[in-house]
Symmetry: C2
Subunit: 247 residues, 2 copies
């Protein structure tokens, strides 16, 4: 009988950020598979459990390993940072298992960087928002630009994942320059880094300053909508309760 | 000395869906304040704790109560379903406390309906996506329409909160009709209802069928991007790994 694959979100990092449901899935699994950074985050919490850490860019191989174990009757957990369904392994697991419907797949959500970073900065995503990854490893840069412009056109608050990396140090600057063609330079922006982990930090800036702000693969970037403001040093997008005359 | 306000996300509902960090904040609070539905979800878990449940549409009053308690030196927890920063109370708390910078506000993120519902359906949000509330209680319907069209223009996967209610039974149908002017009728869609609670259910349909699908305030709706597909009965938006030739 075929086994099962859990795709588990660890949340932003610390052991107090995964849900009990996620923790129970890890406990019920024979093997925990994941990108090295995430396996290292949980290594100490699972002594005696089989752990398989694989480097970045071997995602399909990592998913196939889970499939092989499940076909052998085991329960495998694919461990992801944040939420597995937001730029995580959930989609790829379904793709890799497409010809094996007998393998049960259960995705266990976690707190994603958009909401964890937002909580640190204040409340930038309390109204409608769009989430875009600036990584062009799997997405043509033209598609990314098209989405940035559409989000600006719709006056969405924006959350950017993977704003820059060593290979592409300038993608955040390019995105900010593009948005500056449509949005005012004083638009409120924010950056959250290493959320929920050691070295956590955050800062606010304007869209004009965003292109020069320090960003890397551990940073999540927020760009306000036309209604976003700074209140007591925090970034806040009001939902509109003030219209009820209650404030 | 002024007290503190925690704004805590319960996640989708069950006690196994809140993070240990959120649970610790509830434990550390003198009073738990929230919308009746959410207070009822946790009532049995906090015997002896002061609980204040207030009905919908009294949001500002609810936030002011937290502020009053904090000014009196207490620690108050504003309890929200899902994540407090996504259509939750985080923004309003900062607004209500804008003249009282001495009150510390800490937002504790939770699993929001977008990712909890996505996990149930498969992996519809694994690539770029936009989140829009269809409630026109605080947002003009013209703004909602503008954002729906911008999201379609940007080929985002879409997640819709508050798709319909007793007061506005037709908003999902109106949104679907509008999107059908720009998107093909066979675009993959999905609905998740009562996620993480008793009576949880989900279904897939096409955009053509979406306007007649059953939706209420406990439903979260997903509309795929041009790349979203159905794999073994689940809704999946691939991230693009197949381009690496690994699949």
């Amino acid at each position: 009988m075929a086994g099962k694959i859990y795709v588990v979100g660890l949340g932003p990092g610390g052991p107090d950020q995964i849900t009990p449901r996620g923790e129970a899935a890890l406990a019920a699994s024979d093997v925990l598979v994941g990108y090295t950074v995430y396996i290292n985050l949980i290594r100490d919490r699972w002594p005696g459990k089989e752990l398989v850490a694989t480097p970045m860019t071997t995602e399909a191989q990592r998913c196939r390993l889970c499939l092989e174990r499940a076909l052998a009757g085991q329960t495998a957990a694919m461990v992801c940072g944040g939420d597995p369904g937001v730029y995580g392994m959930a989609g790829l697991i379904f793709q890799v298992c497409r010809d094996r419907p007998e393998v049960e797949i259960q995705v266990i959500p976690g707190v994603t960087a958009a909401t964890a970073g937002a909580a640190l900065l204040g409340a930038p995503l309390t109204h409608d928002f769009a989430v875009i990854s600036l990584s062009d490893a799997l997405t043509p840069w033209e598609t990314i630009e098209k989405r940035l412009l559409a989000a600006a056109e719709g006056d969405f608050a924006l959350c950017l994942y993977n704003p820059a990396s060593r290979r592409r140090p300038d993608t955040l600057a390019r995105a900010a320059a593009l948005l500056l063609e449509r949005l005012p330079g004083d638009r409120v922006c924010g950056l959250a880094r290493m959320v929920g982990r050691e070295g956590e930090s955050w800062q606010l800036c304007t869209l004009r300053e965003l292109g020069k702000a320090p960003a890397d693969m551990f940073t999540t970037v927020f760009i306000g909508s036309s209604r976003t403001m700074v209140l007591n040093g925090r970034m806040v997008t009001p939902r509109g309760y003030e219209k009820r005359g209650e404030l």
